[in-house]
Point group: C2
Chain length 156, copies 2
């Protein structure tokens, strides 16, 4: 498991590629995202040091996600073999819970509620990534997030 250095803005995986890998972030910050038919980016997740980031497609299927570096990073790259999946189901269940919460929040909470939830849950990431990417993660435009923050201030 040789560590690999990645420069900021470097792309590790492009949508449509095969044989997608698992990236274990030793330091720095990675991100996964899609680009839809209209050309818009949608951030799927952020992965700071200690996190694991991967496209959840089986390795023989084309990937849905791009993965790139938001900061200079060091990552371990691992193959998606069934064996390693067998050895630790716990992190998979943890990811399932995160996604379950994300789906339920997207369906039931307003943009401002989702933003406040994000800041409370990931204060570190909030400081490290551009506002527009947080907006994208939340499923709103940067303009909308900017307005929401202003209204939030005026209320308090």
């Amino acid at each position: 498991m040789h560590p690999q250095k990645v420069k900021k803005k470097q792309i590790l995986q492009k949508s449509g590629e095969f044989d997608s890998k698992i990236y274990i972030v030793k330091s720095g910050l990675l991100r996964s995202y899609t680009i839809d038919e209209k050309g818009k980016e949608h951030v799927f997740m952020f992965a700071p040091e200690g996190w694991v980031i991967a496209d959840n497609v089986p390795p023989e299927q084309p990937t849905m996600l791009f993965i790139d570096a938001l900061e200079d990073s060091v990552v371990y790259v691992r193959k998606k073999d069934i064996k390693s999946e067998h050895q630790n189901a716990a992190p998979l269940v943890r990811r399932l819970l995160v996604l379950q919460k994300r789906v339920l929040t997207l369906m039931s909470a307003s943009a401002i509620e989702r933003f406040e939830d994000f800041v409370a849950t990931y204060p570190d990431i909030t400081q490290r990534v551009p506002q527009r990417m947080i907006a994208s993660y939340l499923g709103v435009t940067p303009e909308a997030l900017s307005k929401l923050k202003r209204e939030q201030l005026q209320r308090s």
Copy 2:
């Protein structure tokens, strides 16, 4: 692993309970959902025969989801022990992929696109559950889905 009979409308798990179980559906149809602060239901998933349904919280944490039966069903109930999770990571990865797609679709597709995607992916479930629950799964009101279907017809 004794099978358990469940009557339609019977609730298997309530939000806030502990020691949540895994339900393997032998026949019939189960559903999981939340109720938000405003009292609105949000369907998280449907599970027809052959599917597995569970809240992804660890067993020592309170559940987020209700689980009930939409049809008379027969289910196997299993404890969430770490051992059984170890034995099959593959279904967990499959669930992750489903949720990944769900999140990306919620963020990038319109209500009508999400509906057409649902019908194409789950034609069987579309026939078996009330429209309002599909609307809830898609994150729209039943009124909106009704209008969208009408517009869809007029376009073709």
